[in-house]
């Protein structure tokens, strides 16, 4: 990826973060912390990696994405709006009665959402089913799923990991958004999951560890995943919860709390300053 391309991705990720803050502020609820940590990954997936067409969201041959950590949908919704699946203004109605954008992803009501999710641990199984369907039909679409590090405490994640490697689902890529924090505190204090790389390796995955905010590293990880045959890939992406908003970064309390007016304005002005800086460099 050249520097111009990288700059464009950074701009889109910054806009996605602005959308996540806008959405959670208007909803007076939601999960900004994990939305901000995963924004670069969502951006890369939808603007560089996946073969998708917002004008044909149900194309049977499209690549699929499952947000297993469904609560981080505010920045995914923003990414989908930026990609053209629906209007940006939908973010202002996030979590409102009758809104297209539900508190957790709803595949029936939101264009671009490939799987309903929100109950942790379930997304990887659904992604396995999609990847298996591709294999059964000799289709070459790929399936991606993002899960949280805290989510790896769910037993079902490991049931699905066994299934994925047993069935040689090399068209499946699991991305763990390793921001290190969950509701009750740091993951390693609540119920430690490390060594996560060794766990996934022993479950039969190709494991790639990256900085989840570095687009060059993200790109290399997805290239490795594509080159990996006969086994699924797990990308362990080290991230910062609340990334991009100074007072939210690495704060457990911003897992599931919406910004108030003052916090919304400060967060937005920080992100807009970053955006102006990035656009100025173009």
């Amino acid at each position: 990826m050249n520097s111009k391309e990288e700059k464009q991705l950074k701009i889109l990720a910054c806009k996605s973060r602005i959308g996540a803050i806008l959405g959670t502020y208007n909803a007076k609820s939601g999960h900004p912390g994990g939305s901000l940590s995963a924004a670069d990954i969502f951006t890369y997936l939808y603007f560089k990696e996946m073969s998708v067409d917002p004008k044909n969201p149900d194309d049977p041959y499209r690549d699929r994405f499952v947000l297993s950590k469904g609560h981080c949908c505010p920045s995914l919704y923003a990414t989908l709006a930026l990609k053209g699946y629906f209007q940006w203004s939908e973010l202002e109605k996030l979590r409102h009665v009758g809104a297209m954008l539900q508190g957790h992803p709803d595949m029936k009501g939101t264009p671009g959402i490939d799987m309903s999710s929100g109950s942790l641990g379930q997304g990887v199984s659904a992604a396995c089913g999609m990847a298996l369907a591709a294999k059964l039909d000799n289709n070459n679409y790929r399936v991606y799923t993002v899960l949280g590090d805290g989510e790896c405490e769910e037993g079902q994640v490991w049931e699905s990991a066994m299934f994925a490697s047993h069935n040689k689902l090399d068209n499946l890529v699991i991305i763990v958004d390793q921001n290190g924090l969950q509701i009750d505190g740091p993951v390693e204090e609540v119920c430690g999951i490390e060594p996560l790389d060794k766990k996934f390796e022993s479950f039969g995955f190709k494991v790639v560890k990256i900085d989840g905010h570095n687009f060059a590293e993200i790109e290399n990880a997805f290239i490795t995943a594509k080159e990996t045959k006969g086994q699924p890939t797990a990308i362990l992406a080290k991230t910062i919860k609340g990334k991009g908003v100074s007072f939210m970064e690495n704060q457990v309390g911003w897992h599931g709390t919406a910004p108030n007016k003052e916090q919304f304005e400060q967060a937005t002005s920080e992100l807009e300053a970053e955006l102006a800086k990035l656009e100025g460099e173009c």
Partner: protein, 314 residues
């Protein structure tokens, strides 16, 4: 008189799947290490490429089924009723029912007739669990012919379906030449206006024997077979309530949450009549031969006949 086939409905189900899969290429069958028991092994043998054993991991199996359905397949996920609907209830709710995905869930070894395995495996709550889920169709076929037809209907219906399978071999009573399965429609098996017996699943044949025997003694009981517990046939229940004024439900399930409650919900709103419930009375089962257990729990011809007589003679 049609040929009586003595077969467990799980086996009829496995045969039906195999038959349907010959022309329907979208059918994919999943099991959780119980293929030999749920009889998806019949499908596995014929269509190994379209069969996946998920191992002893029911929760993942339901999610895999959801993903397959979201990609255009018609997945059938089978396990024992206890583990399919109990262990994986939340996966079924959130990954299958909420997005209304085209998954068929088969719960075998349902009810007390699971027998010797005892209480942990005798699922008496599956119908209750499944019928609380919005959009879930709940089927409980009563004999070989009905299971064959119900499996076909389940596969043809677009949306989530739970289908209950039994372990015990039972005699068929339907006539394949005249039998017609219609999703959501009850079937009147015996006419009568003294009382209406509404039965489902494995015990329908016992109820049929009971009402036939009572007819010779001058008691005219109507018998309705409810193979579709959800959506339930309100019309046939209201008509029976109006014309007989008394209902008896018979099911191999806890009397809480199953057929009895489904019937009472209709009658209490549309035509209140006294309803007597035959079923497992809010208890766990225990080990023993299936037929003995069915007798002990009152799910046999003699007890059904006794209850009918008591209700009619007041």
């Amino acid at each position: 008189m049609a040929e009586i086939i003595t077969k467990a409905t799980r086996e009829s189900f496995g045969m039906a799947l195999c038959e349907l899969a010959k022309t329907n290429k979208d059918i994919v069958v999943l099991d959780a290490d119980l293929a030999a028991a749920t009889k998806t092994s019949i499908f596995k043998k014929e269509f190994p490429k379209r069969f996946r054993d998920c191992g002893i991991a029911e929760c993942n199996m339901m999610g895999v089924a959801a993903g397959l359905a979201a990609s255009g397949k018609i997945p059938v996920a089978a396990s024992f009723a206890m583990f399919a609907t109990g262990r994986a209830f939340e996966q079924i709710r959130n990954s299958i029912a909420y997005p209304h995905l085209n998954v068929k869930i088969a719960g075998s070894h349902a009810g007390i007739s699971t027998g010797e395995d005892g209480a942990t495996h005798q699922c008496l709550e599956d119908i209750a669990l499944m019928r609380t889920l919005p959009g879930m169709v709940v089927l409980n076929p009563a004999d070989h012919y009905e299971m064959m037809a119900a499996t076909k209907a389940a596969v043809e219906y677009k949306g989530p379906v739970y289908i209950r399978l039994g372990r015990l071999a039972i005699d068929s009573f339907n006539d394949p030449d005249t039998y017609k399965f219609e999703l959501g429609k009850g079937i009147t098996l015996h006419e009568g206006n003294d009382v209406a017996v509404i039965a489902t699943g494995l015990v329908v044949n016992e109820a049929l024997k009971a009402v036939r025997e009572l007819k010779t003694q001058g008691i005219n009981a109507r018998l309705i077979n409810i193979h579709t517990i959800k959506p339930i046939d309100e019309e046939i229940i209201i008509k029976a309530a109006k014309e007989t004024g008394r209902i008896i439900t018979v099911e191999e399930h806890n009397i809480i949450g199953g057929l009895a409650d489904a019937v009472c919900q209709v009658t209490s709103a549309k035509c209140p009549v006294p309803v007597t419930r035959i079923g497992v009375e809010d208890k766990f089962g225990y080990s023993g031969p299936a037929k003995e257990l069915l007798e002990i729990f009152g799910l046999c011809k003699d007890n059904i006949a006794k209850v009918i007589t008591d209700v009619v003679k007041g």
